[in-house]
């Protein structure tokens, strides 16, 4: 069809009538071409649409429907309509309130640490790259880059086991060095989990910040120095404003991730304890599903997690939009 359109004779000056005849002759072909293209486009998109529907829309819709039903197979094999009962349970449950609070504190603290430490190291690393030119500088930068990426590249479970071993009050090296017998995960459970998570995720922030800083034109720094700016002023009035959109997007992204996906570290290090002191929201959903086998309650919890995730995601998009205008 594309061939047919290409074969149309070019309009010739002074041959308006003749050209009109040609156009009329080819008009149905053009329409057919457009329809065929549309059908081809639809056909090509269809597998992706089916995929999205089957693996994204359908499960989420099923989850939403199940959240309005009572289904706990160990109580009854019958799935019955429960109205808002699962959400009423959620609103009235102390366990859920505590879990949400723990997750909010965890998210806020870990993202703050990751952003602060990640940004600080990124600035120092960027300074090192700029100032240490030559073979040795490049080598050192690569070495540091490799070292910093290690925690991020370590599987979460392995990292959590390493932290549990490090902070073991009986056999752990941290207490041995400090000459203490502090049970970190028992005495400071949430703080310990936050540190373990921040250790793993800080490199992610670091490298995003690092890339953002390196994208700033060196001439801008030279100009700032000519104006007499010191290191802090360079950071405060030049680096930070220029990388602020990246900082905001990274923080929002990490917040979504931390709120909805913190599981492995808690599961391995504290198991959600002592008692329920570190029972984060994803762990509560997992327990309600796989331990308590109460799928109605678990679905309501999962819907709330999706809503929180969507809200945080929407704020991320808003930040991006605001930073691009």
């Amino acid at each position: 069809m594309r061939q047919a359109v290409r074969d149309l004779p070019p309009p010739i000056a002074g041959e308006g009538r003749a050209g009109g005849k040609v156009a009329r002759r080819f008009l149905p072909t053009l329409r057919e071409g457009r329809r065929a293209r549309r059908l081809t486009g639809l056909g090509l998109t269809l597998p992706a649409l089916i995929f999205v529907f089957a693996f994204m829309v359908y499960p989420v819709a099923s989850l939403a429907i199940l959240s309005f039903q009572e289904y706990a197979p160990l109580r009854s094999t019958v799935t019955s309509f429960a109205g808002l009962a699962n959400y009423a349970w959620l609103v009235g449950s102390d366990l859920v309130h505590q879990s949400i609070w723990v997750t909010v504190v965890f998210t806020a603290a870990s993202v703050a640490i990751e952003m602060g430490v990640g940004l600080a190291i990124a600035v120092l690393l960027a300074k090192l790259v700029v100032e240490l030119r030559g073979q040795a500088g490049r080598l050192l930068t690569r070495l540091l880059g490799g070292v910093f990426i290690l925690p991020f590249a370590t599987p979460a479970i392995a990292g959590a086991i390493a932290w549990k071993t490090l902070l073991n009050p009986q056999f752990g090296p941290v207490d041995a060095i400090l000459h203490t017998d502090i049970a970190w995960f028992a005495q400071f459970p949430l703080a310990s989990v936050i540190v373990a998570d921040a250790w793993k995720m800080t490199p992610f922030v670091l490298f995003l910040m690092f890339a953002a800083i390196l994208s700033i034109e060196p001439e801008q720094y030279e100009a700032a120095r000519l104006d007499g700016a010191n290191g802090w002023q360079e950071f405060r009035y030049l680096t930070l404003p220029l990388i602020l959109p990246v900082v905001a997007v990274t923080a929002a992204f990490r917040a979504v991730d931390a709120f909805t996906k913190i599981f492995d570290t808690v599961f391995v290090t504290t198991g959600g304890g002592p008692a329920t002191d570190t029972q984060v929201f994803p762990l509560l959903i997992w327990r309600t599903t796989f331990d308590y086998l109460n799928f109605g309650h678990a679905s309501a919890l999962a819907v709330v997690a999706i809503i929180v995730s969507a809200l945080l995601g929407a704020s991320l998009l808003a930040i991006r939009r605001a930073s691009s205008t």
Partner: protein, 423 residues
């Protein structure tokens, strides 16, 4: 031209697939009805490893391929329910837990009555078969028996200086305790932080719940009453169990709140604790590595938590006859003997329990035999949720300073208000 050939080849593929499928269907229709495969749902662990190791013997004897799927413990719960309640029909044999699953399997699961499918002479050999019966129906056959025991520092208990000091302080001999009061005294005596702690109880919810069962069953209680089908979470036994847990956790090493009984194994091997209660899977390791250092005694009281994988056949099993053959092999004398020697677990058969080779291999079998008649299982149908609640109640006592009576009443009257043991 090339693409045209490619397209034709691609177009032919479905036809080829159809022909192959057709041939496959023909071939199956020609074969006799004997099942080719038995699909077994099991959970990862040494007992399942033993099943897999010796399964070729079953395959050789029956011509049926044993496909034993090991799933991780967290996934096991949902899979069992999918098969036995929702009728997913993926497996011919589903292994369930003896101590925690027995009640819901009895009351809720859609399983075959094995009393009608297994030979009477084999069934008569099974120890404690009544535990797996509801009425006359046999809902499953245990693969082995395992249960908790008390492990103690034998070297300390047999040390003359320690014995003399203990006698001087308490006026009696330092021996493995036979009452909770004795055990508490011994734990207090050996509590010498930071080098040695009197006792260990893992605080992670599933682990501390298990310790709670040791005390509850030991005191003669349970979590539900099968006659009234009501919860029994604030009985005197439950309150005493909470009280003992509060006392013993005070003699634990730091960090116990986020540890489990596997950490107890490490602490014991490193000489950090004087006593703890745990499943006797660890006995083989202790005995092999440090025979003079660690001793074993039966748990105190009237009962111990039943540990076993129990083989059931779902009503919806694709090949129940293959499942029956698999269970027959599993409960047979040959495999039971091999398994006992391999894993250190007790065999389920009365005759194999008397086998000289088995008795020689299972060091401490006399101790195990004392506990065997006392095995108990949780008499509720929703142990997962219950155990988390029990863990919450325990931490109300040990962390928040709530009295055991108030914590037990909270569990019965608030946390699980309106719930029943058999739902």
């Amino acid at each position: 031209m090339k693409s045209g050939i490619g397209a034709r080849i691609l177009a032919l593929l479905p036809a080829v697939a159809l022909i192959v499928a057709g041939c496959a269907n023909n071939s199956t229709s020609n074969t006799p009805a004997t099942p080719k495969v038995v699909r077994v749902l099991a959970v990862a662990g040494p007992e399942t490893d033993a099943l897999i190791k010796y399964a070729p013997e079953f395959e050789k004897a029956t011509g049926i391929t044993a496909s034993i799927e090991q799933v991780a413990r967290p996934l096991w719960g949902q899979r069992k329910v999918r098969e036995l309640i929702e009728g997913a029909a993926l497996y011919d044999v589903v292994m369930v837990g003896g101590g925690d699953d027995n009640t819901w399997v009895k009351y809720k699961a859609q399983v075959k009555d094995l009393s009608k499918l297994l030979p009477a002479d084999q069934l008569s050999q099974v120890n404690l078969l009544d535990k797996f019966k509801i009425g006359d129906r046999v809902i499953g056959i245990p693969q082995y028996y395992n249960f908790p025991m008390l492990f103690y520092r034998k070297d300390l208990f047999e040390n003359p200086a320690e014995q003399a000091a203990f006698k001087a302080k308490y006026g009696r001999d330092l021996v493995p305790p036979t009452s909770y009061e004795d055990m508490y005294q011994v734990a207090q005596f050996f509590n010498r932080p930071p080098n040695l702690y009197g006792f260990f109880i893992g605080g992670v919810d599933w682990s501390i719940y298990l310790d709670d069962t040791y005390f509850v069953y030991g005191l003669g209680g349970n979590y539900g009453d099968l006659t009234t089908k009501q919860l029994t979470l604030n009985t005197p036994e439950q309150k005493q169990a909470l009280s003992w847990l509060g006392k013993f956790t005070a003699l634990n090493p730091p960090g116990w709140q986020t540890e489990n009984f596997f950490d107890g194994d490490t602490l014991m091997q490193n000489g950090k604790i004087a006593m703890y209660q745990n499943w006797f899977y660890i006995w083989k390791t202790f005995h092999d590595k440090m025979p003079d250092k660690i001793g074993m005694a039966p748990l105190i009281g009237k009962g111990a938590h039943l540990g076993a994988f129990v083989a059931t056949i779902p009503n919806a099993a694709p090949s129940p006859e293959a499942g029956v053959k698999f269970i027959q092999w599993m409960m047979g004398a040959t495999y039971q003997k091999e398994q006992a020697i391999e894993t250190g677990d007790l065999p389920i058969r009365k005759d194999v329990l008397q086998d000289p080779d088995v008795r020689k291999a299972l060091v401490g079998i006399e101790q195990f035999e004392k506990v065997l008649p006392n095995l108990q299982y949780n008499q509720t149908t929703w142990v997962g949720e219950l155990s988390a609640g029990v863990s919450e109640a325990i931490f109300k006592v040990v962390k928040d300073g709530v009295s055991p009576d108030v914590a037990a009443d909270w569990l019965q009257n608030e946390k699980f208000k309106g719930r029943k043991a058999i739902e």
